[in-house]
C-alpha cells in the first residue's frame, strides 16, 4: 500500500522539474514538454487527493485538465509552425523581434 504522501511528493518533484525546464531550456519544443510535465503533476495531485478524500471531483477535474492540455498544445504547436516558417529557429534566444 503506497501512502498518499508519496504521490504528493512525486507530483511536487515533477512540478519542480517542469518549472525548471520552462525557465532554463532554450528549445521551444522542450519548453512545451516541460509544461506538459507540470500539468501532469497536477493530475497526479488531483488523483491522489481524490483517492484520499473518497471524492470524485478530483478525477473529473483530471479528465478536463487532460483535455484542455491537449487543446493548448494543439494551439501552441500551430503557432510554433507559423513561427518556425518565419524565423527558421527553435531557440527562444533567437526569437527576439519584440523588445523594450
Amino acid at each position: 500500500m503506497v501512502p498518499v504522501t508519496w504521490y504528493i511528493a512525486l507530483s511536487a518533484v515533477l512540478f519542480m522539474i517542469g518549472a525548471a525546464g520552462v525557465l532554463t531550456r532554450r528549445n521551444v519544443i522542450v519548453i512545451l514538454m516541460s509544461i506538459e510535465l507540470m500539468l501532469n503533476s497536477v493530475n497526479i495531485n488531483f488523483m491522489a487527493f481524490s483517492y484520499l478524500l473518497g471524492d470524485m471531483t478530483g478525477q473529473i477535474f483530471t479528465i478536463f485538465t487532460i483535455t484542455v492540455a491537449a487543446a493548448e498544445v494543439a494551439v501552441a504547436l500551430g503557432i510554433l509552425i507559423a513561427l518556425v516558417r518565419s524565423n527558421k529557429t527553435f531557440n527562444v534566444d533567437e526569437i527576439d523581434a519584440l523588445k523594450g
Binding site: A19, I31, F49, I60, V68, I79, S86
Partner: protein
C-alpha cells in the same frame, strides 16, 4: 461510487441558465460554416452575424439577469455580478468587431475564423464571470485564452505577430499550470472545488499551515499572470505589440476584465475567510504593478507598448479594490473595468484609424501634429488620454476616485497615497502625447482609415467616457451569494417559455 441519477444533476433550467453562452458558442460554429459559402463580395455578412449573435446573447442575458439562479449543482451562477461583467464583455466584443472590419482588410487577414475565435473567447469570458466552482472557472479561463493565443498570431506572415503569440501561449500555459497546482492543493486541503464550500471549510479554521499559504501564493501567481500584474506582466508588452491592433484592444479590455471577475469571485467568495493570508500578497502585486507599469511606460516609443505598460498600471489600481475587500471595493473595481473598456477601445480605435497603406501609426512620434489637420480625432484622443490619466470630468477620474474611497474607508491610507502618486506619474506620459499632437508641426500629411464601424465605436466610447464622468454610476451590486434553490426555480419558470 453510487450517486443520484442524471436527472437530478441536470434540469431544463440549467440549460436555460447557460443559454447566452450556448448562443455564442453555437453561433460561432454556424458562422464558421457560413464563412465557407459567403461569396467574396458579401464579406460583411460574417461580422454582421457576429454582432447579431452577441446582441441575441445580450438579450437572453438581460432577461436572465439578477435571477440569482445557481445551475449545474452550484457550478454556474447568474447573479448581478456576473450580469454586469457580461455586459462589459458584450460591449468589448461588439466594439472589437466594429474596429476590425476595415483593419483586417488592410492587413489582408480577412478570414471568418477571426470573428469565430473572438466569439469563442467571448463565451469563455462569460463562463468565467458566472463560474462558481474552480472547475468551471478553469474551463472558462482556458476557453477565453486559447482563441486569443491564436488571434495574437493571426498576422501569419508577420514575424512579430508569431513571436508575440508564441511568448503569450508559453507563458499562458505556464501560468495555467501554476494556477492548477494551486487549485489541486486547495482541493486537497478543503476537499471541494466549489467556492461556497471552500469558504465554509476555511471558516472552520481547520485549514491553515504552509501548504495552504503555498496554494494561495500559486493562485495569486496564476491569476496575476492573467491580469498582467507585476511581476507576472512580462508577456503583456510583447503580446500587445505583436498582436493585430483590434486584438490588442480586445484582450486588454475583455479577457482582462474576465480575469478580474474570476479573481474577485475566488478571493472574496471562496477564500474570504483567509483574507489575512492573501491580502498582503495582492497588495504587493498591486503596488508593484502601479509602480513598474507606470514608470516603464514613460520610456516606451511604441504606442502599443506604452499602452501595454499602462494597462499593467491600471491592473494595479483595479487590484487595490480587491485589497480593500469590501462591497464598496468590489463595486469600484466593476465600475473601473467598465470605464477602462470604453477608454481603451476608444484609444485603440484611433490607433487603428492611423493604420493605412504604408502608415503604421505604431510609434508615439507618428502622432506629432495630428491636431493641425484632424481636429476632431485629436480631440477624441485627448479625452481618452485624459480619462486614462484620471483627469476630471472624465470617467477615468471617477473610477480612480471610487477605488481610492474604498481604500480610505477601510483605513488603507498608505496604499491610496501610493496610488495617487503613481497616477501623477502616469499623467506625464499620457499628456506627453497630447502635447505632441497639439504643439508639434506635422511631418507629413495624415491619412486616416476611418470607417463607419470605427466612427460608431469612437462616438459611443467618447459619449460614455464623458457621461460616466459627469453622471457616474452609483449603484451598488450585492455581493455574490446564492439564494435558496426552490426560489430560484420559480424565478426561472417566470421567464421559461
Amino acid at each position: 461510487m453510487s450517486g443520484p441519477d442524471v436527472a437530478t444533476f441536470f434540469s431544463p433550467g440549467d440549460f436555460l441558465a447557460i443559454l447566452p453562452e450556448m448562443v455564442i458558442a453555437g453561433m460561432a460554429c454556424v458562422i464558421l460554416m457560413v464563412d465557407l459559402v459567403v461569396p467574396r463580395t458579401k464579406r460583411w455578412v460574417v461580422p454582421a452575424l457576429s454582432v447579431l449573435s452577441v446582441a441575441a446573447a445580450a438579450w437572453f442575458s438581460w432577461n436572465l439577469a439578477g435571477s440569482g439562479v445557481s445551475a449545474f449543482s452550484g457550478m454556474f451562477v447568474l447573479d448581478g455580478y456576473a450580469a454586469f461583467f457580461k455586459l462589459i464583455f458584450y460591449i468589448v466584443a461588439v466594439f472589437a468587431v466594429f474596429v476590425s472590419i476595415r483593419y483586417i482588410k488592410t492587413e489582408e487577414i480577412d478570414l471568418g475564423e477571426y470573428y469565430v475565435l473572438m466569439l469563442f473567447s467571448l463565451s469563455g469570458m462569460m463562463i468565467m464571470a458566472s463560474g462558481s466552482d474552480l472547475l468551471t472557472i478553469y474551463l472558462g479561463l482556458e476557453l477565453a485564452s486559447l482563441p486569443v493565443y491564436a488571434l495574437v498570431g493571426f498576422l501569419q506572415k508577420s514575424r512579430k505577430s508569431n513571436e508575440a503569440a508564441m511568448k503569450y501561449v508559453i507563458l499562458g500555459a505556464f501560468s495555467s499550470a501554476i494556477l492548477l497546482y494551486g487549485i489541486s492543493l486547495i482541493y486537497g486541503l478543503t476537499g471541494t472545488t466549489q467556492l461556497a464550500a471552500i469558504s465554509a471549510a476555511l471558516e472552520t479554521g481547520a485549514v491553515s499551515g504552509p501548504l495552504f499559504t503555498l496554494a494561495v501564493i500559486m493562485l495569486v501567481a496564476g491569476f496575476g499572470f492573467k491580469v498582467a500584474g507585476f511581476p507576472f506582466h512580462m508577456w503583456a508588452p510583447d503580446a500587445y505589440e505583436g498582436a493585430p491592433t483590434p486584438i490588442t484592444a480586445f484582450m486588454a479590455a475583455g479577457p482582462k476584465a474576465a480575469a478580474f471577475a474570476v479573481i474577485m469571485r475566488v478571493f472574496l467568495e471562496g477564500l474570504f475567510p483567509a483574507y489575512d493570508n492573501w491580502q498582503m500578497a495582492i497588495a504587493a502585486v498591486a503596488v508593484g504593478s502601479m509602480v513598474v507599469g507606470n514608470i516603464t511606460a514613460i520610456m516606451q516609443t511604441s504606442i502599443k507598448r506604452m499602452l501595454a505598460f499602462s494597462s499593467v498600471g491600471h491592473a494595479g489600481y483595479a487590484l487595490l479594490g480587491l485589497v480593500a475587500g469590501s462591497e464598496e471595493g468590489i463595486a469600484s473595481v466593476m465600475f473601473y473595468l467598465l470605464v477602462y473598456a470604453f477608454m481603451n477601445l476608444g484609444i485603440f480605435g484611433i490607433i487603428i484609424m492611423m493604420r493605412r497603406d504604408s502608415q503604421s501609426g505604431d510609434q508615439i512620434s507618428h502622432y506629432a501634429g495630428l491636431a493641425k489637420s484632424n481636429r476632431l480625432t485629436a480631440l477624441a484622443m485627448l479625452v481618452f488620454l485624459f480619462s486614462l490619466a484620471g483627469i476630471p470630468p472624465t470617467a477615468g477620474f471617477v473610477a480612480k476616485f471610487y477605488v481610492f474611497m474604498a481604500l480610505i474607508h477601510k483605513g488603507m491610507i498608505g496604499l491610496a497615497v501610493v496610488a495617487a502618486l503613481m497616477s501623477a506619474v502616469a499623467a506625464y506620459y499620457y499628456i506627453r502625447i497630447v502635447m505632441l499632437m497639439y504643439m508639434r508641426e506635422p511631418e507629413k500629411e495624415f491619412l486616416l482609415a476611418s470607417s463607419r464601424g470605427i466612427l460608431c465605436v469612437l462616438i459611443i466610447a467618447l459619449a460614455a467616457v464623458v457621461a460616466l464622468g459627469v453622471y457616474p454610476l452609483t449603484y451598488k451590486p450585492r455581493p455574490a451569494r446564492r439564494s435558496a434553490v426552490g426560489q430560484e426555480r420559480n424565478e426561472m419558470e417566470r421567464w421559461y417559455p
